[in-house]
């Protein structure tokens, strides 16, 4: 029997990018192998839910959970892994704040299903929709029930640590693994419960090497309609860049590559509602005082709610559009 502490990684409504980010620590995976016994990781090995159920409560030392809570199976497994794990980390943007699948929260879930099952290439004359319980000739088979609103991990279970990013950068993951191993060896202490780990305390602007001046925006542009100056702040050039409110830790990768920050590292330290922060930041630097001119400039932002809540909708104060909640009957 292995005396190594147990490790698990699970994905709910996510994309697999967090798993790839873990694998991109390259040789460092040897340290994970040397220090842990991987007992549950569906993408990579064949332990089943039954095996987790059979484990003793609290017997898994560290579980990295990525993915949002989209359906009842996701929530069930969240409760299961919470029970079986000592330390549960909301790993990646989906678990921390909903991430891209959280954008579904702008619409009722019925529309999600409707759209998927009536696209131009879908052959569905009888308007069949997926059924959570369906009787086939041989017996009843089931699929999970979608929730009206996608939830974050902390909205269903108690979370110990948060590791933001879509996905978390591999160098950050490597640093966290080093820390955990140090803790195992008694050479370091775990951060206080509830801490955000594997990320910085400032904003992306702090890591961005572009030159910044006082912003006076007369026009919001779209990145494809300009050859942006590679040395100058993108927001200053009117390209909507979310770096101003986004947590640091990624080395401002996207602005370095010429693309605007889309906010995948989540809210900076101390931010309560990420979208509200961005409303404030963007509005404050508009160069206009008359309502008509303000509106004219704002017309350049064609999708403000999407721009400001792109990764964060499910984890924001409002959490979803009103129509999404309505489908819950309340």
């Amino acid at each position: 029997m292995s005396a190594k502490p147990k490790f698990a990684m699970y994905w709910a409504a996510s994309c697999g990018g967090c798993e790839i980010a873990v694998l991109n620590i390259h040789e460092k995976i040897l340290d994970v192998d040397a220090n842990f016994d991987v007992v549950f990781w569906p993408v990579a090995m064949d332990a089943k839910y039954k095996d987790v159920e059979a484990m003793e409560d609290g017997s898994i030392l560290l579980t990295l959970w990525n993915g949002g809570i989209r359906n009842d199976e996701n929530e069930h497994i969240a409760h299961l892994l919470r029970k079986k794990s000592k330390i549960l980390v909301a790993f990646g943007s989906c678990a921390c704040e909903g991430c891209i699948p959280g954008l579904a929260n702008f619409s009722p879930v019925s529309e999600i299903v409707e759209t998927a099952f009536s696209t131009v290439s879908t052959d569905n004359p009888q308007n069949v929709r997926p059924q959570p319980h369906y009787q086939v000739p041989e017996g009843e088979i089931t699929i999970p029930t979608l929730y009206p609103v996608l939830k974050t991990l902390e909205q269903v279970v108690d979370v110990d640590y948060y590791m933001p990013g879509c996905p978390p950068e591999s160098h950050q993951i490597a640093a966290v693994i080093d820390l955990v191993i140090q803790v195992l060896q008694g050479k370091a202490e775990l951060p206080p419960k509830g801490a955000t780990i594997g990320a910085g305390n400032s904003t992306v602007c702090d890591e961005c090497k572009r030159q910044r001046n006082v912003k006076t925006i007369k026009e919001f542009g779209r990145i494809q309609f300009t050859h942006a100056d590679p040395e100058l702040c993108l927001l200053e050039q009117g390209i909507p860049c979310n770096g101003v409110a986004t947590r640091s830790g990624c080395n401002a990768r996207c602005p370095t590559a010429g693309a605007q920050c889309i906010g995948c590292y989540g809210p900076a330290e101390g931010v309560i509602d990420y979208g509200a922060r961005l409303v404030s930041a963007f509005a404050s630097v508009i160069d206009a005082n008359e309502p008509a001119e303000i509106d004219r400039i704002l017309d350049g932002l064609v999708d403000p709610a999407g721009q400001f809540y792109r990764f964060n909708l499910a984890g924001s104060l409002l959490r979803a559009g009103k129509s999404a909640f309505k489908s819950n009957g309340g």
């Binding site: 702008f106 609103v149 939830k151 902390e154 909205q155 269903v156 279970v157 108690d158 509830g194 309560i272 509602d273 979208g275 509200a276 922060r277 409303v279 404030s280 963007f282 509005a283 404050s284 508009i286 206009a288 005082n289 309502p291 303000i294 509106d295 704002l298 932002l301 999708d303 403000p304 709610a305 999407g306 400001f308 984890g315 924001s316 104060l317 409002l318 959490r319 979803a320 559009g321 009103k322 129509s323 909640f325 309505k326 819950n328 309340g330």
Partner: protein, 153 residues
């Protein structure tokens, strides 16, 4: 929708003008609807859109922001910031399904007590016509989130 719906409106008032206007209305015993709960800020430019969202999530049916007239800001220009934020926030709220009529921005001066009272009364009726917002987030059962705790603290 019954007559018994009493809108709850949070009013963020600037210390130098609208709060004084409200004060003036009060000392002059001008009656205005009790539906509005006033919160004093030093300047309308202090209004963080987060406050508005917290108000809606906390049960408000509408939010009124009031600041000094353009050009009269005690801190020179910050009411213009409030104006810009208001315009952008409204667009975001509309996308979220919150009617634009639930967010109002008014300019007031310290001497305009009667106007302030009148504005409030009119707005209460506008919101009454819109109906309750009943933002569902507070009804969805969930573990108490650190976000909500941070805001409450």
């Amino acid at each position: 929708m019954t007559d018994s719906f009493e809108p709850v409106i949070i009013g963020f008032t600037c210390n130098w003008c609208s709060y004084r206007a409200a004060d003036m209305a009060g000392t002059a015993r001008m009656k205005y609807a009790p539906n509005i709960r006033l919160i004093r800020l030093m300047c309308s430019g202090r209004l963080d859109p987060t406050f508005v969202l917290k108000a809606f999530v906390g049960g408000a049916d509408a939010v009124m922001i009031s600041g000094c007239h353009p050009g009269d800001c005690h801190y020179v220009e910050q009411n213009y910031k409030a104006l810009r934020r208001f315009h952008l926030l409204k667009r975001v709220l509309t996308q979220m399904g919150i009617e634009p009529g639930r967010l109002k921005l008014v300019w007031a001066s310290a001497a305009e007590g009667a106007i302030f009272a009148d504005t409030v009364n009119k707005y209460v009726e506008e919101v009454r016509a819109l109906g309750p917002l009943d933002w569902p987030a507070k009804n969805i059962e969930s573990v108490s989130t650190p976000i909500m705790e941070k805001v409450a603290a």
